[in-house]
């Protein structure tokens, strides 16, 4: 069985490649290349798979999962400018694909530390603006 729990955060970004000219950047990224950046509200679903504990009736303690996301993920990204304030994007374009991979790495490390014997991180889903959804399998 798999539990998926939903979190929200917002951040801003600007898509831009130094290797391209201004025109090429505008052609490739459109309004996402606007100077100064712009922002989004993201929805993050974290999926945890495992057996249901016969005593508590739960796959994972919601408090532990919330602490992982609220302490090891959200403070690094929520209400931040990704280009300027998130070190992982110093040399990486902050597309939602790359954001999903970065969050996946943060969650993997946090699960190893806090739930070494526990249920496993199964997948993450990142929704951007209600039109695009990104699914990343972690298994």
């Amino acid at each position: 069985m798999r539990l998926s729990r939903r979190y929200q955060f917002c951040a801003s970004h600007r898509l831009h490649l130094d290797s391209l000219s201004g025109d090429e950047n505008r052609e490739l990224f459109g309004k996402c290349n606007n100077p100064y950046g712009h922002g989004h509200d993201y929805i993050l679903h974290v999926s945890v798979a495992g057996e249901v504990d016969p005593e508590t009736g739960r796959i994972v303690d919601r408090d532990v999962l919330d602490r992982i996301v609220r302490e090891d993920v959200l403070p690094r990204i929520d209400h931040k400018d990704m280009n300027a304030a998130v070190p992982e994007f110093r040399d990486l374009n902050p597309t939602t694909e790359n954001l999903a991979k970065v969050i996946g790495d943060w969650l993997c490390a946090a699960f190893r530390n806090r739930l070494p014997a526990g249920p496993r991180l199964s997948a993450i889903r990142l929704e951007e603006t209600g039109r695009n959804t990104f699914d990343l399998s972690m298994e």
Copy 2:
């Protein structure tokens, strides 16, 4: 191809383990351990997989699927207090994980009876309060 059809019901529950003290129960289950219980609206998605019938153009007759859910599932749980009025939870903590397993068992039996040669029950998804979603594969 897979068809997922959506149903709703509401029920109340209280999470509590007799093997624990009052303090331990409150620590483990938080507000879900409040005396007298509390309630939720659940959304149930039933997924059916199979071939599309070349004549009718359908995987499964919606009326048959609706009868299975409306006669074999919803009357056992809808507008009920799970702890007091659902026999399956006499010795089982009514978490949403366990509720998904109980509904999965009810649906399996109903599919065997009513659709023995028909499309197969592929998965169920149970949404609790918009924040937590449980996926149970039945294949």
Copy 3:
């Protein structure tokens, strides 16, 4: 201008009038009269009207509004059995109409205490199960 802010809680209830027979109660309230009660997830929108502060650019400080709802409203109802654990419903049927009026009274008192000179409580909206919405004007 009016700001409406969204909160969630869950609770259980049973609709029943002692003045009616069992059959009359079942006829009048249907499944909502089931013994032991059942529960719902409610969405509460609190609307505040007033002038935009020329300095802060806000109608109301979100933290103050959140404290009003989280300290003066939610602890009295969230994860509770209304019939058994909320004194206001000792002699009042816990329909959503009556729940809206009770929450309106709690909010009125809290606004008088905490925002005596501030923006006014304009309206509350209570959504029950996605099908029924109750609007109560407070002006």
Copy 4:
């Protein structure tokens, strides 16, 4: 990683089999057999799987994907009467199952033409009226 992008269209249809009598058609298809037809708003999710391009940070160029859907899919179905104006349904009942298969064929051909070396069409999901969702794996 997989990106799913969301599109909308509306169309009308009537479910009817010439091989059945009027009564049998009404019994099998219910209100969907009403003469003259009726309509729906459909939501189409197109899922694309592949590697994240190390330079652009994207799985697929959104503009290319949008052109595929807006030029090769939507003009054939959006604001159309499926029975009368979509050749694929001349001898095929326009159920949502069959509509999903027809759209899957259109997308497959478009991906072969426009993205021969690119990311692959992974799945399509078609939502009908918020109650029924159809998933068709293309891999």
Copy 5:
């Protein structure tokens, strides 16, 4: 206090004025002028205002309201082609504005018959395709 209750139906229509040429119709109504018509899923919210009954705790009996909508409104429009099968649109363009007015008339008459002394019909809201919402005050 006001209760708004939510219903759904689907229908198809074609927007066309005989007084205009084919080009003028296409210019004015765009894809909505496609021959054969196309369809939508509509969401109807019926708002009822009145006092809360001190005994039952309700503004209106949900069963009475449901019977009004399910017997006096939905059978005339649900799963229908408005141009061909709804007499009110014989000489009236079936835009959503006009559909709202027609439904408003049906509801007014039904409230006069079935709830002559009861709560009043306060407003209707009709949502078309998630992008356009029509509000019609009945007071």
Copy 6:
């Protein structure tokens, strides 16, 4: 009758008052004061009131309304950093309250130019992050 039409845009902002110290800004605006700013997806509902044209059956031509919003509103704000790239916020804190007033001014001017005799701008609603909704009456 009133038609409300829905638009979306994204933008980033940072809430900050030069007249306050760093600590006071953090105390007043919380995470919204983070350096470099952050972003949101906003939903804008534009409500237009008037009579239904007896010939076309419409309150307002959707194309005219769309042109107003897409030419006179969205290019000034969509995918922009409000603090840096929107002149109206040079000396005005870019809260959603102030954003609603600025958009209201833009729409008023556009309605005067493009629909001088037509239906009137009735209200705007701005949704921020699904939790806060701002209603501004324009009548």
